[in-house]
Subunit: 405 residues, 2 copies
Amino acid sequence: MALVVQKYGGTSVANCNRIKRVAERVIARKEEGDDVVVVLSAMAGQTNYLIDLALEMQAHPDPRELDVLLSTGEQVTIALFSMAVKEMGQDARSFLGYQVPVETDSAHSKARIQNIPTSKLQEAISKGIIPVVAGFQGVSSTGDITTLGRGGSDTTAVAVAVSLDADVCEIYTDVDGVYTTDPNICPSARKIERISYEEMLEMASLGAKVLEIRSVEFAMRYGMPIHVRSSFTGTPGTMVVKEDELMEDVLVSSVTYSRDEARITIKKVPDRPGIAAMIFNPISDANIIVDMIIQNTRAGDLTDMTFTVPKGDFDQAMSIVEKTAEKIGAESVAGDKNIAKVSIIGVGMRNHAGIASRMFDILARHNVNILMISTSEIKVSCIIDEKYTELAVRALHEGFGLDKK
Amino acid sequence: MALVVQKYGGTSVANCNRIKRVAERVIARKEEGDDVVVVLSAMAGQTNYLIDLALEMQAHPDPRELDVLLSTGEQVTIALFSMAVKEMGQDARSFLGYQVPVETDSAHSKARIQNIPTSKLQEAISKGIIPVVAGFQGVSSTGDITTLGRGGSDTTAVAVAVSLDADVCEIYTDVDGVYTTDPNICPSARKIERISYEEMLEMASLGAKVLEIRSVEFAMRYGMPIHVRSSFTGTPGTMVVKEDELMEDVLVSSVTYSRDEARITIKKVPDRPGIAAMIFNPISDANIIVDMIIQNTRAGDLTDMTFTVPKGDFDQAMSIVEKTAEKIGAESVAGDKNIAKVSIIGVGMRNHAGIASRMFDILARHNVNILMISTSEIKVSCIIDEKYTELAVRALHEGFGLDKK
């Protein structure tokens, strides 16, 4: 008999019929002998609908009141779901963030979970009642409703699982697991059976949208296994586990891509101490996140500085950088929105040299020019011309043998 | 400078634009120098929409979970309203039932308010922040969300006003006050300037739908003046006050009617002690509320028993009564759904004889036959054939001079 925390996302509870299907699944699991705690998101589309209402009232909605508003989405699903379970003859009980309680700091719209006392959940479990917890929401020390930010229900689920010392946290979604790459552009993509937290984190930050990053960080810190699987099929999905629990030692476990970045180059920057700070401080003051940075040495005391920013922040970043360039006496500023980032990820890189050069070689053989490179211990990312995205992903997927079991 | 509690109903906050209009009103009042506490209902239609969702999940929705679900309606409006106030440059802060807290018993869907600690509301007021309280909802001693039943926001408003020792509780609605009778069937109906709690209570129980009964009882118990007025105009409405604060001594202040009852007669009942209990106990066991009861003595030891029940419970009551009639050896059971109740109400009746007979006389002069009569200290009700409803109301309204100032 295991203790399982199951989280169902917005598409799994998008309407009354789907909520009933999920209730059937949960009850079936409980009748197999497991204790189940359920964490739910709002019905698909509901959060966006509520945000639209808020924007009708206020150009920049008050963060405290926005959280009061948005938290109603999960409140509706947990109540309806509990009714469905009861109608099917099992007992369930809904828990709002403040009722668990899911204690957070008071950073509205991006609160962090600090503690989850479990006595009320455990009392319900011991009575055979299925606890149904509202994802995404918590309560601050002042009793105010907080929310955890987009995808926060994943984090709620993992945090509840950790607090209850559950055996596994199952995240149900509309795909049946984590894939070696995006099946939409690479038909030979395969479902991964087991992947490490570290790889999953890199995948999430490099463009794969299966799990919310904070939930993976949380699970990694406490060693909580996550099972990513489909709420529409019964097949096993992907287990996200500690690196030493991986079955086989693969060099590269996945290929990701992102078209969400843009590149800015400042040409002929006078190369003196403090120049980088002068360039990047105003950008970070505008809350724009810079990803890759490359500095080329030129002849004399001049250097070129190239970096990437999120595509949505490109125009603002360009106007900031143009002012800075004038102030520091750089020659010119160039921008390029038509780029993509392709990455290979794998914990096997730690122990094997030459993975990066093999990547460059594969891209070269397909005539894909590399514009920028960045590496970490377990990934290599290349910025390329956007039009080569699909080609590069397919070539790397095949080149590293990911199409073969 | 006064402390005013203002309650706005569902049609006043039916959409974003109306919420903004209400925010403008509240701010205008605050800028005149008054302290304002706002109590809001859910957007019109929202509660029914949520009930429909619940009924899709469960034939008889779990009361605890239904309260979790329904309370989201007010949660949405208080958040949106607070945003609107902030956008207009004043400060506001939403308060859910558990945040005030509005402490209730744990009778889900019909909870009663037990206590409202005011320190948080007063702290907000003292800082110049407009508290915006969710109507209809409270919290039980176990931390569960409760709701107060239909129209419960009126009760929230009065209870908050009493707890804060406010100067007045203003109930904003889509009519501009309490009328001498229904203007839809009697064009000469006039708005009443002042009316007593007792009369308002009788009106509410006799079919007028302006205020929820419990809110009037609450206000009466604590002497909190209620001002019923329109949220769409600026004109004064109707003050509901203590009897000794009425300006003039009118005999009859209003005429009401209801088509919501039906009549059942059991003929030739053996008249022996305990027979009434045998008839009415099974009906009350079925949670059917009996209003008027009349017993006619016949020749010998036989009696006729006539009583009224809500029209919606008529079929069930008939089948219960038919079984009882057989058991006690009554001759037959007859039912009639085509009846109406017309009533006159006025605290002046206490000190004047002959009001009832004047009512019977007016109805007789218009050839309206009286089927049943019931009286209290401040009202007289007659059951008549339903088709005479409008005629009877107009005749009584004119006959008691209510059409003249």
